[in-house]
Protein backbone atom coordinates (compact mmCIF):
# COMPACT_ATOMS: atom_id res chain seq x y z
CA UNK A 1 0.00 0.00 0.00
CA UNK A 2 1.51 3.34 -0.98
CA UNK A 3 2.08 6.09 1.55
CA UNK A 4 -0.49 8.29 -0.17
CA UNK A 5 -3.17 5.58 0.01
CA UNK A 6 -2.44 4.97 3.68
CA UNK A 7 -2.68 8.69 4.37
CA UNK A 8 -6.00 8.96 2.53
CA UNK A 9 -7.40 6.04 4.52
CA UNK A 10 -6.25 7.76 7.71
CA UNK A 11 -8.16 10.91 6.67
CA UNK A 12 -11.27 8.77 6.14
CA UNK A 13 -10.88 7.17 9.57
CA UNK A 14 -10.63 10.57 11.23
CA UNK A 15 -13.69 11.81 9.33
CA UNK A 16 -15.67 8.78 10.55
CA UNK A 17 -14.68 9.52 14.14
CA UNK A 18 -15.70 13.18 13.72
CA UNK A 19 -18.95 12.03 12.14
CA UNK A 20 -19.92 10.11 15.30
CA UNK A 21 -18.65 12.99 17.42
CA UNK A 22 -21.09 15.31 15.61
CA UNK A 23 -23.99 13.34 17.03
CA UNK A 24 -23.30 14.69 20.52
CA UNK A 25 -25.84 17.44 19.82
CA UNK A 26 -28.72 17.84 17.34
CA UNK A 27 -27.27 21.15 16.12
CA UNK A 28 -24.03 19.54 14.90
CA UNK A 29 -25.48 16.20 13.87
CA UNK A 30 -26.16 16.95 10.21
CA UNK A 31 -22.61 18.15 9.75
CA UNK A 32 -21.52 14.88 11.34
CA UNK A 33 -23.48 12.89 8.80
CA UNK A 34 -21.92 14.95 6.02
CA UNK A 35 -18.41 14.23 7.34
CA UNK A 36 -19.30 10.53 7.28
CA UNK A 37 -20.29 10.79 3.61
CA UNK A 38 -17.05 12.65 2.88
CA UNK A 39 -15.01 9.96 4.64
CA UNK A 40 -16.74 7.22 2.67
CA UNK A 41 -16.19 9.05 -0.62
CA UNK A 42 -12.46 9.42 0.10
CA UNK A 43 -12.22 5.73 1.01
CA UNK A 44 -13.94 4.64 -2.21
CA UNK A 45 -12.01 6.97 -4.52
CA UNK A 46 -8.72 5.96 -2.91
CA UNK A 47 -9.49 2.28 -3.40
CA UNK A 48 -10.55 2.83 -7.01
CA UNK A 49 -7.16 4.42 -7.71
CA UNK A 50 -5.43 1.23 -6.59
CA UNK A 51 -3.49 -0.20 -9.60
CA UNK A 52 -5.18 -3.60 -9.07
CA UNK A 53 -8.65 -2.12 -9.58
CA UNK A 54 -9.32 -1.94 -13.33
CA UNK A 55 -12.83 -3.11 -14.11
CA UNK A 56 -14.45 0.28 -13.65
CA UNK A 57 -17.42 -0.47 -15.82
CA UNK A 58 -18.68 -3.50 -13.92
CA UNK A 59 -17.93 -1.86 -10.58
CA UNK A 60 -19.78 1.27 -11.68
CA UNK A 61 -22.86 -0.73 -12.62
CA UNK A 62 -22.84 -2.72 -9.37
CA UNK A 63 -22.37 0.45 -7.33
CA UNK A 64 -25.15 2.24 -9.17
CA UNK A 65 -27.63 -0.60 -8.75
CA UNK A 66 -26.88 -0.83 -5.03
CA UNK A 67 -27.00 2.94 -4.62
CA UNK A 68 -30.36 3.22 -6.33
CA UNK A 69 -31.89 0.44 -4.27
CA UNK A 70 -30.51 1.88 -1.03
CA UNK A 71 -31.62 5.42 -1.77
CA UNK A 72 -35.13 4.50 -2.86
CA UNK A 73 -35.67 2.37 0.26
CA UNK A 74 -34.30 5.08 2.55
CA UNK A 75 -36.45 7.80 0.98
CA UNK A 76 -39.68 5.82 1.20
CA UNK A 77 -39.37 4.07 4.55
CA UNK A 78 -41.81 5.10 7.28
CA UNK A 79 -40.16 6.25 10.47
CA UNK A 80 -42.14 3.71 12.50
CA UNK A 81 -40.43 0.97 10.45
CA UNK A 82 -36.89 2.20 11.19
CA UNK A 83 -35.93 -0.76 13.42
CA UNK A 84 -36.68 -3.31 10.71
CA UNK A 85 -34.83 -1.20 8.15
CA UNK A 86 -31.72 -1.04 10.31
CA UNK A 87 -31.89 -4.80 10.92
CA UNK A 88 -32.18 -5.43 7.19
CA UNK A 89 -29.20 -3.17 6.48
CA UNK A 90 -27.11 -5.01 9.07
CA UNK A 91 -27.80 -8.27 7.30
CA UNK A 92 -26.34 -6.80 4.10
CA UNK A 93 -23.08 -5.81 5.82
CA UNK A 94 -22.81 -9.37 7.13
CA UNK A 95 -23.42 -10.91 3.73
CA UNK A 96 -20.99 -8.49 2.06
CA UNK A 97 -18.32 -9.57 4.56
CA UNK A 98 -18.92 -13.23 3.64
CA UNK A 99 -18.58 -12.44 -0.07
CA UNK A 100 -15.40 -10.41 0.41
CA UNK A 101 -13.86 -13.25 2.44
CA UNK A 102 -14.93 -15.83 -0.16
CA UNK A 103 -13.42 -13.68 -2.87
CA UNK A 104 -10.16 -13.40 -0.93
CA UNK A 105 -10.11 -17.16 -0.53
CA UNK A 106 -10.50 -17.84 -4.27
CA UNK A 107 -8.19 -15.08 -5.46
CA UNK A 108 -5.80 -14.21 -2.64
CA UNK A 109 -3.32 -12.46 -4.94
CA UNK A 110 -5.79 -9.57 -5.42
CA UNK A 111 -5.40 -8.93 -1.69
CA UNK A 112 -1.63 -9.63 -1.50
CA UNK A 113 -2.10 -12.64 0.74
CA UNK A 114 -0.24 -15.34 -1.18
CA UNK A 115 -1.70 -17.66 -3.81
CA UNK A 116 -4.55 -20.20 -3.92
CA UNK A 117 -3.77 -23.12 -1.62
CA UNK A 118 -0.85 -21.36 0.06
CA UNK A 119 -2.47 -18.52 1.95
CA UNK A 120 -0.48 -17.69 5.10
CA UNK A 121 -2.05 -19.07 8.25
CA UNK A 122 -2.55 -15.63 9.83
CA UNK A 123 -4.71 -14.54 6.89
CA UNK A 124 -6.67 -17.78 7.01
CA UNK A 125 -7.53 -17.27 10.68
CA UNK A 126 -8.63 -13.67 10.08
CA UNK A 127 -10.54 -14.64 6.96
CA UNK A 128 -12.47 -17.45 8.63
CA UNK A 129 -13.30 -15.42 11.74
CA UNK A 130 -14.48 -12.51 9.56
CA UNK A 131 -16.59 -14.95 7.54
CA UNK A 132 -18.16 -16.55 10.62
CA UNK A 133 -19.09 -13.20 12.21
CA UNK A 134 -20.41 -11.92 8.89
CA UNK A 135 -22.54 -15.02 8.37
CA UNK A 136 -23.98 -14.87 11.91
CA UNK A 137 -24.77 -11.18 11.39
CA UNK A 138 -26.53 -12.00 8.12
CA UNK A 139 -28.99 -14.64 9.30
CA UNK A 140 -29.37 -13.16 12.79
CA UNK A 141 -30.36 -9.81 11.30
CA UNK A 142 -32.80 -11.46 8.91
CA UNK A 143 -34.57 -13.14 11.84
CA UNK A 144 -34.58 -9.86 13.78
CA UNK A 145 -35.99 -8.15 10.69
CA UNK A 146 -38.70 -10.83 10.38
CA UNK A 147 -39.67 -10.47 14.04
CA UNK A 148 -39.88 -6.68 13.81
CA UNK A 149 -41.74 -6.73 10.51
CA UNK A 150 -44.11 -9.49 11.66
CA UNK A 151 -43.02 -12.19 9.16
CA UNK A 152 -41.74 -14.27 12.05
CA UNK A 153 -43.69 -14.47 15.32
CA UNK A 154 -42.43 -11.96 17.84
CA UNK A 155 -42.86 -14.54 20.58
CA UNK A 156 -39.73 -16.23 21.81
CA UNK A 157 -39.25 -19.67 20.29
CA UNK A 158 -37.83 -21.88 22.99
CA UNK A 159 -37.20 -25.61 22.82
CA UNK A 160 -35.40 -28.14 24.95
CA UNK A 161 -31.64 -28.40 24.61
CA UNK A 162 -31.51 -25.16 22.64
CA UNK A 163 -28.48 -23.73 24.41
CA UNK A 164 -26.72 -27.09 24.25
CA UNK A 165 -27.19 -27.21 20.47
CA UNK A 166 -25.87 -23.66 20.18
CA UNK A 167 -22.84 -24.59 22.26
CA UNK A 168 -22.15 -27.65 20.11
CA UNK A 169 -22.51 -25.61 16.93
CA UNK A 170 -20.21 -22.91 18.30
CA UNK A 171 -17.55 -25.48 19.18
CA UNK A 172 -18.10 -27.09 15.78
CA UNK A 173 -17.39 -23.78 14.04
CA UNK A 174 -14.17 -23.36 16.01
CA UNK A 175 -13.11 -26.89 15.04
CA UNK A 176 -13.93 -26.17 11.39
CA UNK A 177 -11.88 -22.98 11.50
CA UNK A 178 -8.88 -24.85 12.91
CA UNK A 179 -9.18 -27.55 10.26
CA UNK A 180 -9.65 -24.94 7.53
CA UNK A 181 -6.48 -23.13 8.58
CA UNK A 182 -4.52 -26.38 8.15
CA UNK A 183 -6.15 -27.78 4.99
CA UNK A 184 -7.31 -24.60 3.18
CA UNK A 185 -10.05 -26.80 1.77
CA UNK A 186 -12.91 -25.02 0.00
CA UNK A 187 -15.59 -27.39 1.34
CA UNK A 188 -14.47 -26.43 4.83
CA UNK A 189 -14.81 -22.75 3.99
CA UNK A 190 -18.43 -23.19 2.92
CA UNK A 191 -19.13 -25.43 5.90
CA UNK A 192 -18.01 -22.59 8.18
CA UNK A 193 -20.36 -20.24 6.33
CA UNK A 194 -23.25 -22.70 6.56
CA UNK A 195 -22.76 -23.51 10.25
CA UNK A 196 -22.56 -19.79 11.04
CA UNK A 197 -25.78 -19.17 9.11
CA UNK A 198 -27.51 -21.80 11.24
CA UNK A 199 -26.19 -20.49 14.55
CA UNK A 200 -27.23 -16.96 13.55
CA UNK A 201 -30.84 -18.15 13.25
CA UNK A 202 -30.74 -20.21 16.44
CA UNK A 203 -29.29 -17.34 18.48
CA UNK A 204 -32.10 -14.93 17.66
CA UNK A 205 -35.27 -17.11 17.56
CA UNK A 206 -35.56 -17.47 21.37
CA UNK A 207 -35.59 -13.70 21.86
CA UNK A 208 -38.90 -11.86 22.16
CA UNK A 209 -40.04 -8.90 20.09
CA UNK A 210 -39.64 -6.26 22.79
CA UNK A 211 -36.05 -7.35 23.47
CA UNK A 212 -35.25 -6.43 19.89
CA UNK A 213 -33.68 -3.04 20.79
CA UNK A 214 -30.89 -4.99 22.49
CA UNK A 215 -30.61 -7.42 19.59
CA UNK A 216 -30.60 -4.76 16.88
CA UNK A 217 -27.81 -2.95 18.77
CA UNK A 218 -25.93 -6.21 19.24
CA UNK A 219 -26.12 -7.00 15.52
CA UNK A 220 -24.96 -3.45 14.84
CA UNK A 221 -21.93 -4.30 16.93
CA UNK A 222 -21.39 -7.62 15.08
CA UNK A 223 -21.44 -5.93 11.69
CA UNK A 224 -18.62 -3.71 12.96
CA UNK A 225 -16.53 -6.65 14.15
CA UNK A 226 -17.08 -8.37 10.80
CA UNK A 227 -15.70 -5.29 9.04
CA UNK A 228 -12.71 -5.24 11.42
CA UNK A 229 -12.10 -8.94 10.71
CA UNK A 230 -11.95 -8.25 6.98
CA UNK A 231 -9.66 -5.31 7.79
CA UNK A 232 -7.12 -7.75 9.23
CA UNK A 233 -7.32 -9.89 6.08
CA UNK A 234 -6.63 -6.84 3.94
CA UNK A 235 -4.07 -5.37 6.36
CA UNK A 236 -6.17 -2.24 6.19
CA UNK A 237 -6.30 0.12 9.17
CA UNK A 238 -9.35 2.01 7.89
CA UNK A 239 -11.49 -1.12 8.13
CA UNK A 240 -10.10 -2.00 11.54
CA UNK A 241 -10.71 1.49 12.96
CA UNK A 242 -14.19 1.78 11.48
CA UNK A 243 -15.06 -1.75 12.58
CA UNK A 244 -13.94 -0.96 16.11
CA UNK A 245 -15.99 2.27 16.17
CA UNK A 246 -19.14 0.51 14.99
CA UNK A 247 -18.46 -2.50 17.19
CA UNK A 248 -18.08 -0.44 20.34
CA UNK A 249 -21.05 1.76 19.41
CA UNK A 250 -23.35 -1.25 19.12
CA UNK A 251 -21.97 -2.75 22.32
CA UNK A 252 -22.57 0.47 24.28
CA UNK A 253 -26.13 0.77 22.94
CA UNK A 254 -26.85 -2.83 23.96
CA UNK A 255 -25.48 -2.07 27.40
CA UNK A 256 -27.68 1.04 27.75
CA UNK A 257 -30.76 -0.95 26.68
CA UNK A 258 -30.01 -3.79 29.12
CA UNK A 259 -29.54 -1.30 31.93
CA UNK A 260 -32.85 0.33 31.00
CA UNK A 261 -34.53 -3.02 31.66
CA UNK A 262 -32.33 -3.99 34.62
CA UNK A 263 -31.42 -7.23 32.86
CA UNK A 264 -28.03 -8.68 32.11
CA UNK A 265 -26.94 -9.05 28.53
CA UNK A 266 -26.69 -12.81 29.04
CA UNK A 267 -30.27 -12.91 30.32
CA UNK A 268 -31.48 -11.22 27.12
CA UNK A 269 -29.37 -13.49 24.91
CA UNK A 270 -30.60 -16.68 26.55
CA UNK A 271 -34.04 -15.51 25.53
CA UNK A 272 -37.47 -16.79 26.46
CA UNK A 273 -38.46 -13.52 28.15
CA UNK A 274 -41.87 -12.00 27.50
CA UNK A 275 -44.41 -12.87 24.87
CA UNK A 276 -47.45 -15.09 25.46
CA UNK A 277 -45.69 -17.48 27.82
CA UNK A 278 -44.78 -14.85 30.34
CA UNK A 279 -48.17 -13.20 29.97
CA UNK A 280 -50.04 -16.39 30.82
CA UNK A 281 -47.69 -17.27 33.66
CA UNK A 282 -47.56 -13.83 35.27
CA UNK A 283 -50.88 -12.31 34.27
CA UNK A 284 -52.67 -12.92 37.55
CA UNK A 285 -56.43 -12.35 37.54
CA UNK A 286 -57.20 -9.14 39.27
CA UNK A 287 -60.66 -8.32 40.64
CA UNK A 288 -59.87 -4.72 41.35
CA UNK A 289 -61.58 -2.17 39.16
CA UNK A 290 -59.63 0.55 37.41
CA UNK A 291 -61.35 3.92 37.09
CA UNK A 292 -62.33 4.66 33.56
CA UNK A 293 -62.56 8.13 32.08
CA UNK A 294 -63.42 9.52 28.69
CA UNK A 295 -61.77 11.92 26.29
CA UNK A 296 -64.00 14.84 27.29
CA UNK A 297 -62.98 14.51 30.96
CA UNK A 298 -59.33 14.34 29.99
CA UNK A 299 -59.64 17.39 27.73
CA UNK A 300 -61.34 19.40 30.46
CA UNK A 301 -58.81 18.50 33.13
CA UNK A 302 -55.75 19.05 30.96
CA UNK A 303 -57.06 22.40 29.76
CA UNK A 304 -57.00 23.56 33.37
CA UNK A 305 -53.51 22.20 34.12
CA UNK A 306 -50.32 24.22 34.28
CA UNK A 307 -47.79 21.43 33.71
CA UNK A 308 -48.21 18.29 31.62
CA UNK A 309 -45.73 15.50 30.90
CA UNK A 310 -46.48 13.10 28.06
CA UNK A 311 -44.98 9.60 28.28
CA UNK A 312 -45.01 7.90 24.86
CA UNK A 313 -44.23 4.23 24.26
CA UNK A 314 -44.22 1.67 21.50
CA UNK A 315 -48.03 1.61 21.41
CA UNK A 316 -47.96 5.20 20.17
CA UNK A 317 -45.75 4.13 17.26
CA UNK A 318 -47.99 1.18 16.40
CA UNK A 319 -51.07 3.43 16.32
CA UNK A 320 -49.16 6.12 14.34
CA UNK A 321 -50.47 8.57 16.93
CA UNK A 322 -47.46 10.92 17.04
CA UNK A 323 -49.00 13.59 14.81
CA UNK A 324 -52.32 13.67 16.66
CA UNK A 325 -50.38 13.71 19.93
CA UNK A 326 -48.32 16.72 18.88
CA UNK A 327 -51.48 18.54 17.80
CA UNK A 328 -52.98 17.84 21.22
CA UNK A 329 -49.78 19.18 22.82
CA UNK A 330 -49.94 22.34 20.71
CA UNK A 331 -53.54 23.05 21.78
CA UNK A 332 -52.60 22.55 25.42
CA UNK A 333 -49.65 24.91 25.03
CA UNK A 334 -51.96 27.45 23.45
CA UNK A 335 -54.19 27.07 26.51
CA UNK A 336 -51.22 28.07 28.67
CA UNK A 337 -49.84 24.75 29.86
CA UNK A 338 -46.20 23.71 29.84
CA UNK A 339 -46.01 20.49 27.82
CA UNK A 340 -42.99 18.20 27.90
CA UNK A 341 -42.26 14.64 26.81
CA UNK A 342 -40.48 11.98 28.89
CA UNK A 343 -38.66 9.15 27.12
CA UNK A 344 -37.66 5.91 28.81
CA UNK A 345 -34.38 4.37 27.52
CA UNK A 346 -36.17 1.26 26.20
CA UNK A 347 -39.25 2.95 24.76
CA UNK A 348 -39.84 1.82 21.18
CA UNK A 349 -38.16 -0.94 19.23
CA UNK A 350 -34.72 0.62 18.80
CA UNK A 351 -32.60 3.06 20.81
CA UNK A 352 -33.86 6.61 20.35
CA UNK A 353 -36.85 5.51 18.27
CA UNK A 354 -39.37 7.69 20.17
CA UNK A 355 -37.22 10.78 19.73
CA UNK A 356 -37.22 10.32 15.95
CA UNK A 357 -41.00 9.76 15.84
CA UNK A 358 -41.66 12.88 17.92
CA UNK A 359 -39.23 14.88 15.80
CA UNK A 360 -41.07 13.63 12.71
CA UNK A 361 -44.28 15.03 14.20
CA UNK A 362 -42.51 18.40 14.62
CA UNK A 363 -42.07 18.24 18.38
CA UNK A 364 -39.04 20.46 19.14
CA UNK A 365 -36.21 18.36 20.57
CA UNK A 366 -35.76 20.60 23.61
CA UNK A 367 -39.23 19.59 24.83
CA UNK A 368 -38.24 15.91 24.76
CA UNK A 369 -36.37 14.82 27.88
CA UNK A 370 -34.64 11.65 29.06
CA UNK A 371 -35.53 9.74 32.20
CA UNK A 372 -32.76 11.25 34.38
CA UNK A 373 -33.56 14.75 33.21
CA UNK A 374 -37.26 14.76 33.96
CA UNK A 375 -38.00 12.08 36.54
CA UNK A 376 -37.79 14.42 39.51
CA UNK A 377 -40.32 16.81 37.96
CA UNK A 378 -43.29 14.41 38.05
CA UNK A 379 -44.05 15.31 41.67
CA UNK A 380 -44.56 18.95 40.65
CA UNK A 381 -46.60 18.08 37.58
CA UNK A 382 -50.37 18.37 37.32
CA UNK A 383 -50.96 15.74 34.64
CA UNK A 384 -48.97 12.76 33.36
CA UNK A 385 -50.33 11.49 30.05
CA UNK A 386 -49.13 7.93 29.35
CA UNK A 387 -49.72 6.81 25.78
CA UNK A 388 -48.65 3.38 24.57
CA UNK A 389 -46.23 2.77 27.44
CA UNK A 390 -46.86 0.36 30.31
CA UNK A 391 -44.05 -1.56 32.05
CA UNK A 392 -41.78 1.51 32.15
CA UNK A 393 -44.25 3.27 34.48
CA UNK A 394 -44.99 0.36 36.82
CA UNK A 395 -44.18 1.30 40.44
CA UNK A 396 -43.90 -2.44 41.25
CA UNK A 397 -40.40 -2.20 39.76
CA UNK A 398 -39.41 -0.26 42.88
CA UNK A 399 -41.42 -2.04 45.57
CA UNK A 400 -42.25 -5.63 44.61
CA UNK A 401 -39.16 -7.81 44.86
CA UNK A 402 -40.99 -10.77 43.29
CA UNK A 403 -41.91 -8.82 40.17
CA UNK A 404 -40.26 -9.75 36.86
CA UNK A 405 -39.36 -6.12 36.35
CA UNK A 406 -38.04 -5.45 39.88
CA UNK A 407 -35.11 -3.05 39.77
CA UNK A 408 -35.89 -1.64 36.35
CA UNK A 409 -35.60 2.16 36.31
CA UNK A 410 -39.10 3.58 35.80
CA UNK A 411 -40.67 6.94 35.04
CA UNK A 412 -42.30 8.11 38.28
CA UNK A 413 -45.63 9.06 36.73
CA UNK A 414 -47.39 7.96 39.93
CA UNK A 415 -46.14 11.17 41.58
CA UNK A 416 -48.07 13.40 39.22
CA UNK A 417 -51.33 14.98 40.42
CA UNK A 418 -53.40 13.14 37.84
CA UNK A 419 -52.42 10.24 35.56
CA UNK A 420 -54.15 9.49 32.26
CA UNK A 421 -53.43 6.10 30.81
CA UNK A 422 -54.23 5.57 27.12
CA UNK A 423 -54.55 1.86 26.44
CA UNK A 424 -56.49 -0.51 24.24
CA UNK A 425 -57.50 -2.77 27.13
CA UNK A 426 -56.47 -3.97 30.56
CA UNK A 427 -53.93 -6.48 29.19
CA UNK A 428 -50.58 -6.57 30.94
CA UNK A 429 -47.45 -5.28 29.24
CA UNK A 430 -44.62 -7.14 27.61
CA UNK A 431 -43.17 -8.40 30.89
CA UNK A 432 -46.53 -10.00 31.72
CA UNK A 433 -46.83 -7.99 34.91
CA UNK A 434 -49.98 -6.20 36.06
CA UNK A 435 -49.40 -2.47 36.38
CA UNK A 436 -50.16 -1.24 39.92
CA UNK A 437 -50.72 2.21 38.57
CA UNK A 438 -54.05 1.30 36.96
CA UNK A 439 -55.67 0.98 40.39
CA UNK A 440 -54.37 4.15 41.97
CA UNK A 441 -56.85 6.86 43.02
CA UNK A 442 -55.23 9.44 40.80
CA UNK A 443 -55.32 7.28 37.67
CA UNK A 444 -57.95 7.46 34.95
CA UNK A 445 -57.90 4.89 32.15
CA UNK A 446 -58.73 6.10 28.64
CA UNK A 447 -59.52 2.97 26.65
CA UNK A 448 -59.18 2.98 22.89
CA UNK A 449 -56.78 3.28 20.00
CA UNK A 450 -54.06 5.83 20.85
CA UNK A 451 -54.64 7.92 17.75
CA UNK A 452 -58.43 7.91 18.18
CA UNK A 453 -58.16 8.97 21.83
CA UNK A 454 -55.84 11.87 20.93
CA UNK A 455 -58.22 13.01 18.21
CA UNK A 456 -61.17 12.88 20.62
CA UNK A 457 -59.24 14.93 23.16
CA UNK A 458 -58.39 17.45 20.45
CA UNK A 459 -62.13 17.77 19.70
CA UNK A 460 -62.78 18.27 23.40
CA UNK A 461 -60.10 20.95 23.62
CA UNK A 462 -61.41 22.81 20.59
CA UNK A 463 -64.92 23.09 22.04
Amino acid sequence: MSTLTTAAYLVSSVLFILSLRGLSHPSTARRGNFLGILGMTIAIVTTLSNPGVLSYKEIGIAFLIGGLIGTSIAVKIQMTALPQLVAAFHSLVGLAAVFVAASAYYNPSAFNIGTVGSIPIGSLIEMSIGTAIGAVTFTGSIIAFGKLQGFVSGNPLVFKGQHFINLLLGLGIIALIVKFCIDQNQELFWLIVFASFVIGVLLIVPIGGADMPVIVSMLNSYSGWAAAGIGFTLSNNLLIITGALVGSSGAILSYIMCKGMNRSFLNVLLGGFGGEQAASAGGVKDDRQAKQGNAADAAFMMKNSKTIIIVPGYGMAVAQAQHALREMGDLLKAAGAEVRYAIHPVAGRMPGHMNVLLAEANVPYDEVLELDEINRDFSETDVAFVIGANDVTNPAAKTDKTSAIYGMPILDVENAGQVFFVKRGMASGYAGVQNELFFRDNTLMLFGDAKKVCEDIIKGLEN
Binding site: F16, L20, R21, L23, P26, R30, N33, G36, M40, I44, T47, L48, N50, V53, L54, S55, I59, A62, F63, L64, G66, G70, A74, L82, L85, H90, A96, V100, S103, N107, A110, F111, G114, S118, P120, G122, N220, S223, A226, A227, T233, N236, N237, L238, L239, I241, A244, L245, G247, S248, S249, G250, I252, L253, G352, N355, V356, N362, Y365, D366
Partner: protein
Protein backbone atom coordinates in the same frame (compact mmCIF):
# COMPACT_ATOMS: atom_id res chain seq x y z
CA UNK B 1 19.42 4.46 -34.33
CA UNK B 2 17.99 0.95 -34.61
CA UNK B 3 20.95 -0.28 -32.56
CA UNK B 4 20.08 2.04 -29.72
CA UNK B 5 16.47 0.97 -29.82
CA UNK B 6 17.54 -2.67 -29.78
CA UNK B 7 19.77 -2.00 -26.82
CA UNK B 8 16.96 -0.18 -25.07
CA UNK B 9 14.65 -3.08 -25.73
CA UNK B 10 17.07 -5.62 -24.30
CA UNK B 11 17.74 -3.34 -21.36
CA UNK B 12 14.06 -3.00 -20.59
CA UNK B 13 13.70 -6.76 -20.94
CA UNK B 14 16.48 -7.24 -18.37
CA UNK B 15 14.89 -4.66 -16.08
CA UNK B 16 11.64 -6.57 -16.33
CA UNK B 17 13.43 -9.82 -15.43
CA UNK B 18 15.13 -8.24 -12.44
CA UNK B 19 11.81 -6.80 -11.29
CA UNK B 20 10.19 -10.22 -11.57
CA UNK B 21 12.98 -11.85 -9.59
CA UNK B 22 12.76 -9.16 -6.95
CA UNK B 23 9.03 -9.59 -6.56
CA UNK B 24 9.43 -13.38 -6.33
CA UNK B 25 12.09 -12.92 -3.70
CA UNK B 26 9.90 -10.49 -1.80
CA UNK B 27 6.92 -12.80 -1.83
CA UNK B 28 9.05 -15.78 -0.73
CA UNK B 29 10.43 -13.66 2.10
CA UNK B 30 6.90 -12.68 3.00
CA UNK B 31 5.82 -16.32 2.99
CA UNK B 32 8.68 -17.53 5.14
CA UNK B 33 7.99 -14.76 7.63
CA UNK B 34 4.39 -15.98 7.87
CA UNK B 35 2.83 -13.49 5.47
CA UNK B 36 2.09 -10.34 7.33
CA UNK B 37 2.57 -11.49 10.87
CA UNK B 38 4.00 -8.07 11.59
CA UNK B 39 0.69 -6.56 10.64
CA UNK B 40 -1.30 -8.69 13.07
CA UNK B 41 0.21 -7.15 16.16
CA UNK B 42 0.14 -3.70 14.55
CA UNK B 43 -3.50 -4.24 13.57
CA UNK B 44 -4.43 -5.35 17.07
CA UNK B 45 -2.79 -2.20 18.43
CA UNK B 46 -4.91 -0.09 16.10
CA UNK B 47 -8.04 -2.10 16.98
CA UNK B 48 -7.61 -1.66 20.72
CA UNK B 49 -6.90 2.07 20.45
CA UNK B 50 -9.87 2.54 18.11
CA UNK B 51 -12.11 0.75 20.62
CA UNK B 52 -11.11 3.33 23.23
CA UNK B 53 -11.82 6.17 20.81
CA UNK B 54 -15.18 4.57 20.00
CA UNK B 55 -16.00 4.17 23.69
CA UNK B 56 -15.50 7.85 24.49
CA UNK B 57 -17.06 9.18 21.31
CA UNK B 58 -20.18 7.02 21.58
CA UNK B 59 -20.80 7.84 25.25
CA UNK B 60 -20.82 11.51 24.28
CA UNK B 61 -23.66 10.92 21.80
CA UNK B 62 -26.90 12.31 23.21
CA UNK B 63 -29.52 9.57 23.83
CA UNK B 64 -32.02 11.48 21.69
CA UNK B 65 -29.81 10.74 18.68
CA UNK B 66 -29.27 7.04 19.26
CA UNK B 67 -31.35 6.09 16.21
CA UNK B 68 -29.35 8.34 13.87
CA UNK B 69 -26.21 6.90 15.51
CA UNK B 70 -27.29 3.46 14.39
CA UNK B 71 -27.96 4.83 10.91
CA UNK B 72 -24.49 6.35 10.64
CA UNK B 73 -22.66 3.34 12.08
CA UNK B 74 -24.62 1.18 9.68
CA UNK B 75 -23.48 3.28 6.74
CA UNK B 76 -19.84 3.48 7.79
CA UNK B 77 -19.58 -0.24 8.57
CA UNK B 78 -20.08 -0.64 4.83
CA UNK B 79 -16.54 0.65 4.46
CA UNK B 80 -16.10 -3.05 3.83
CA UNK B 81 -16.68 -1.92 0.25
CA UNK B 82 -12.92 -1.28 0.18
CA UNK B 83 -12.40 -5.04 0.24
CA UNK B 84 -15.22 -5.59 -2.23
CA UNK B 85 -13.67 -3.15 -4.73
CA UNK B 86 -10.28 -4.89 -4.52
CA UNK B 87 -12.04 -8.21 -5.09
CA UNK B 88 -14.00 -6.90 -8.07
CA UNK B 89 -10.99 -5.03 -9.48
CA UNK B 90 -9.15 -7.55 -11.72
CA UNK B 91 -9.99 -7.47 -15.44
CA UNK B 92 -10.24 -11.24 -15.97
CA UNK B 93 -13.59 -12.68 -14.97
CA UNK B 94 -13.66 -15.44 -12.40
CA UNK B 95 -15.77 -16.49 -9.42
CA UNK B 96 -13.74 -14.26 -7.12
CA UNK B 97 -14.56 -11.19 -9.15
CA UNK B 98 -18.28 -11.97 -9.18
CA UNK B 99 -18.26 -12.37 -5.41
CA UNK B 100 -16.59 -8.97 -5.27
CA UNK B 101 -19.23 -7.37 -7.49
CA UNK B 102 -22.05 -8.79 -5.36
CA UNK B 103 -20.33 -7.41 -2.27
CA UNK B 104 -19.98 -3.99 -3.95
CA UNK B 105 -23.72 -3.95 -4.65
CA UNK B 106 -24.66 -4.99 -1.10
CA UNK B 107 -22.30 -2.44 0.45
CA UNK B 108 -23.60 0.30 -1.86
CA UNK B 109 -27.20 -0.37 -0.77
CA UNK B 110 -26.05 0.13 2.78
CA UNK B 111 -23.90 3.20 2.19
CA UNK B 112 -26.61 5.09 0.34
CA UNK B 113 -29.46 3.73 2.43
CA UNK B 114 -27.67 4.42 5.72
CA UNK B 115 -26.59 7.97 4.98
CA UNK B 116 -29.87 8.98 3.32
CA UNK B 117 -32.08 7.64 6.12
CA UNK B 118 -29.84 9.28 8.73
CA UNK B 119 -30.08 12.57 6.92
CA UNK B 120 -33.85 12.22 6.83
CA UNK B 121 -33.96 11.58 10.57
CA UNK B 122 -31.64 14.46 11.43
CA UNK B 123 -33.46 16.95 9.23
CA UNK B 124 -36.54 16.43 11.42
CA UNK B 125 -34.87 17.43 14.69
CA UNK B 126 -35.78 21.05 15.25
CA UNK B 127 -35.36 23.47 18.12
CA UNK B 128 -38.23 25.30 19.77
CA UNK B 129 -39.16 28.40 17.83
Amino acid sequence: MSEISNQLESLSYKAQQIANEASQLASSVAETSGGHSDFIIFGITVLVLACFVGYYVVWSVTPALHSPLMGVTNAISSVIIVGALLAAGPVDSNISKYFGLVAVTLAAVNIFGGFVVTNRMLSMFKKKQ
